[in-house]
């Protein structure tokens, strides 16, 4: 590892060295990096809140922070992690950086709109952090009414305004991606030659555009009831509290797929590369992504099985929730089948991707427990639910995000990181994660409700295990920050294609030039055309 300066000085990173050159850039790659910096900062703020939560839960008594502070902590953890980290994480960083590269385009269709989405994100984040600094919000990230409208006397409007604004960032990114994928694919790059990551970004963008406006309206209605006392959700004013839950989950359930679909795309890229094989049944994989996005719009009522909605609604939402799991199951089986007769390599991104498959499977199966009506009546709003969605969002989305960052790091930065350290971090994250969240399944079945500041003494052992796991997980998250930043100065210079991966993004130099490709690439083969199997049997 010799500290060498990159041989080429004509990459997108050399297009300007001033802060202003970054803040005014229209280059999708630089905007991706701006997003990466901002969401990482927000991730560590959300993580700090989680750290205090886990410390508080070491003992049954609520003795570390006051109950009001605790409520504000889990609210900020949820609001920040969902809207300011998970939802933008893969689409706005890796998606932004890679989408034009993967389809052989010079940029996104609307570069200025793309920059606007980053500024909207920052604006939204400032509102929400402002609410945090001004004293916090205690409604939970779900803003359930009438608590959020008529009873909470914390900074609900400021936090909701931040979420409202960041929603427009999502919508603009979604429009940009859809138009780009439709109109800017390189010659020869037909729909069924698109990498699965592009398919995933396409489906995600549809959800952004169709679901996010409903969230915006819902938050606006909250503001109307809070400010002007217009009866929408509070029965004391003639409103209906269940209306809020329908509107909120109509957005927020599809939002779960916004978090997981891009992760599935990333995992497909990684698995194909390190298995040296095309993804098993590529077309089914692409269709499964679309199926999840479409059916995902029809399952919101499974958040409301004990809310007082009708039995018949419960039955319909239950069966639909089972059906949405089918395409996810197919994806897991197909990733597994991709490894058959492959040439598997165990680089750090592959460890993250394999970890994803395992954790996502567990998260998915426990989701079926929750879709089962009679079982959900017991499990609803307990730690079982907390464990389930962390398996999907942290075990799934965050693992894939980290895998993707490692996979494309040489392309993005032009530097190689230490694979040994990266593998160590991946293993740390995997074990830390399981130790943190597996005990929460048991806690949930035992009956410990979520959002409890103090709890019954028989829940302590499992909570202590969970907190111990969280400390390992935290180390696993801090480690990449160290060796990845280190690689920027000390890492070996990356070649154009260090993993010998397929895909247009690997055909240009690392880091790519400002215009991405010296000449427009022409696509002549199917995706994942890794070296064909050695010989053909008789």
């Amino acid at each position: 590892m010799s500290p060498a300066s990159p041989p080429v000085r004509d990459s997108y990173l050399d297009a300007g060295y001033t802060l202003w050159s970054w803040l005014s850039t229209h280059d999708h790659k630089r905007i991706g990096i701006l997003f990466a910096f901002s969401i990482t900062a927000l991730f560590f703020i959300g993580g700090a809140a989680a750290t205090i939560i886990r410390l508080e839960l070491l003992t049954p008594a609520g003795d570390l922070v006051s109950e009001q502070t605790y409520n504000k902590l889990f609210t900020m953890h949820g609001v920040i992690m969902i809207w300011f980290f998970l939802i933008p994480s893969i689409p706005s960083t890796l998606g932004n950086f890679l989408l034009p590269l993967m389809i052989g385009a010079r940029d996104l269709a609307f570069p200025r709109l793309n920059l606007a989405s980053w500024y909207l994100y920052v604006g939204g984040a400032l509102f929400t952090i402002g609410a945090l600094v001004a004293g916090g919000v205690d409604t939970g990230w779900t803003f359930y009414t009438p608590f959020s409208t008529m009873f909470s006397n914390t900074h609900v409007i400021a936090a909701a305004a931040g979420v409202f604004i960041v929603g427009f960032s999502s919508i603009l990114t979604g429009i940009n991606f859809i138009v780009t994928i439709h109109t800017m694919r390189a010659p020869g790059l037909t729909w069924f030659r698109l990498p699965l990551f592009v398919w995933a970004l396409y489906a995600t963008s549809l959800i952004f555009v169709l679901a996010t406006p409903v969230l915006a309206m819902t938050l606006l209605l909250i503001a109307l009831e809070r400010w002007f006392g217009i009866g929408i959700f509070d029965p004391a004013l003639g409103g209906d509290p269940l209306l809020f839950q329908h509107l909120f989950w109509f957005y927020s359930h599809p939002a779960v797929y916004v978090m997981i679909l891009p992760a599935m795309g990333v995992v497909s890229e990684i698995v194909a590369c390190y298995a040296r094989k095309p993804i098993f049944n590529y077309k089914t994989m692409a269709m499964a992504i679309l199926a999840i996005a479409v059916v995902g719009f029809l399952v919101w009522g499974h958040h409301m099985f004990v809310s007082g909605q009708s039995v018949y609604a419960g039955i319909v939402f239950s069966i639909l929730s089972f059906i949405v799991a089918i395409p996810s199951a197919i994806k897991v089986f197909n990733w597994t089948a991709t490894l058959y007769k492959a040439h598997v390599m165990f680089h750090a991104p592959m460890l993250y991707a394999l970890g994803f498959v395992g954790l996502f499977t567990l998260g998915g199966i426990t989701g079926l427990f929750l879709a089962s009506l009679a079982l959900d009546v017991h499990l609803h709003d307990t730690y079982f639910v907390v464990a389930h969605f962390h398996y999907i969002m942290v075990g799934g989305a965050v693992m894939a995000f980290l895998g993707g960052i490692h996979f494309w790091w040489p392309k993005i930065t032009g530097r190689m990181y230490s694979d040994g350290w990266a593998r160590f971090a991946a293993i740390l994250v995997f074990f830390g994660f399981n130790l943190t969240f597996f005990p929460q399944f048991l806690l949930g079945y035992l009956g410990m409700p979520r959002r409890y500041h103090a709890y019954a003494p028989e829940f302590q052992v499992l909570n202590v295990l969970s907190s111990a796991g969280a400390s390992i997980l935290a180390a696993g998250y801090l480690l990449p920050l160290v060796y990845l930043l280190w690689s920027l100065r000390r890492g070996a210079v990356a070649p154009a294609n260090p993993w010998e991966a397929k895909g247009l993004e690997w055909s240009t130099q690392s880091p790519p030039p400002k215009e991405n490709f010296r000449q427009t690439p022409i696509v002549t083969e199917a995706p994942y055309a890794y070296a064909p199997p050695i010989e053909v049997a008789k």
């Binding site: 109950e67 205690d138 359930y144 009438p146 608590f147 009873f151 909470s152 029965p235 509290p241 049944n281 004990v306 809310s307 007082g308 009708s310 419960g314 239950s318 089972f322 059906i323 799991a325 089918i326 199951a329 897991v332 089986f333 597994t336 490894l339 058959y340 007769k341 492959a342 040439h343 598997v344 390599m345 394999l354 395992g358 499977t361 567990l362 199966i365 079926l368 427990f369 089962s372 009506l373 009679a374 079982l375 009546v377 609803h380 709003d381 048991l442 035992l446 009956g447 409700p449 979520r450 959002r451 500041h453 103090a454 709890y455 019954a456 028989e458 052992v461 199997p533 010989e535 053909v536």
Partner: protein, 329 residues
């Protein structure tokens, strides 16, 4: 000191059924996830880069046909399993949605951050719910402020408690003892303190318990006093000059409404008729009743409802069978 329970108390037949459902799911989930992990590890090791394993593949046409068959197999198999599990869990849920006739009604009012409970006989308690073992009990629940949720892990049931309406939850506890009651819907600052105790007693001990304490009058008697105090009898009384529906025996009946539809005169209907009298006007009557919104507490409303329930019809006194099971939980 170190307690590590893995299963919660089991205090009803439903709890055992739900546990069985859990164990079957654990079996299916365990087998499937173990199989996936084993296959991934096996493939990853056997087909690691540079290993000498045979990687000869069938010709593409054969592969394509085989792959399609595999894909169909692992689409249809989970689908069948899912439908079976859905059906089982939904059936248990639906069967449990209908309260059996003859259940003991107990009123529950949630408010930040306590549970107020009143038995029809007039005995009140706070954050404790005493019930007899072996008899169906139905909780009629509402909230004075935000949404709460009444959760009894030992019975494997919970139900959100909403302001402005009744939700119900029924169970038959079959094991005496003390069990947890938790509020499981986040309701503000002291949410984690909104906890209580379910006390399941032998029926005779329960009967004695009901008589103890500061019980001066039953809920229906208290409701009768409210009925007089608010002048309800001025219209609903037998000799009234105003044309208002008589309330004797109305509870549980199917009421024709002015708009041509029907409503069952259950607790929800009675409560709504007091607060929102123009919502479901009985056919043949003018919508002249004033709303009592804001004049009655949830506890008083429950007492009035109990009073109306206690008014037997002159001709068919004590007709239990007319009461239909609750359609909704």
């Amino acid at each position: 000191m170190l307690e590590l329970p893995l299963m919660p108390d089991r205090a009803s037949a439903l709890a055992r059924s739900v546990d069985t459902l859990l164990f079957v799911w654990l079996g299916i989930g365990g087998v499937v996830s173990a199989a996936i992990v084993v296959v991934i590890v096996w493939f990853a090791i056997r087909y690691r880069y540079g290993s000498p394993a045979n990687r000869a593949m069938a010709p593409p046409a054969v592969q394509r046909r085989r792959n399609n068959r595999i894909e169909v197999a692992w689409t249809v198999t989970p689908l069948l399993i899912f439908i079976a599990m859905f059906g089982w869990a939904a059936r248990l849920y639906v069967v449990h949605a209908a309260t059996p006739p003859g259940a003991l009604d107990i009123y529950v009012v949630g408010k930040q951050w306590m549970w107020k409970i009143e038995h029809p006989g007039g005995r009140r308690e706070i954050d404790e719910l005493h019930v007899p073992a072996g008899r169906p009990v139905r909780l009629l629940m509402t909230s004075e402020d935000v949404i709460h949720s009444f959760f009894m892990p030992a019975l494997r049931i919970k139900q959100d408690v909403l302001p402005g309406r009744y939700t119900t939850l029924w169970f038959t506890a079959d094991k005496t003892g003390d069990f947890h009651v938790f509020c499981s819907q986040y309701c503000g600052t002291a949410h984690s303190q909104m906890i209580g105790r379910l006390v399941v007693m032998q029926p005779d001990a329960f009967a004695r318990w009901l008589q103890r304490g500061d019980v001066t009058r039953s809920m229906a008697e208290a409701g009768a006093a409210l009925f007089r105090a608010h002048g309800c009898g001025g219209c609903h009384g037998q000799n009234s000059a105003v044309h208002a529906p008589p309330l004797e025996g109305i509870f549980g009946r199917k009421i024709p409404l002015a708009d041509g539809s029907f409503a069952i005169a259950d607790e929800r209907y009675l409560r709504d008729s007091i607060l929102l009298p123009k919502k479901e006007v009985a056919a043949g009557y003018a919508p002249i009743m004033p709303s009592f919104q804001g004049q009655l507490t949830e506890g008083e409303l429950a007492e009035l409802v109990e009073y109306v329930k206690s008014l037997a019809s002159p001709q068919d006194s004590g007709n239990e069978s007319s009461r239909e099971p609750e359609p909704a939980r």
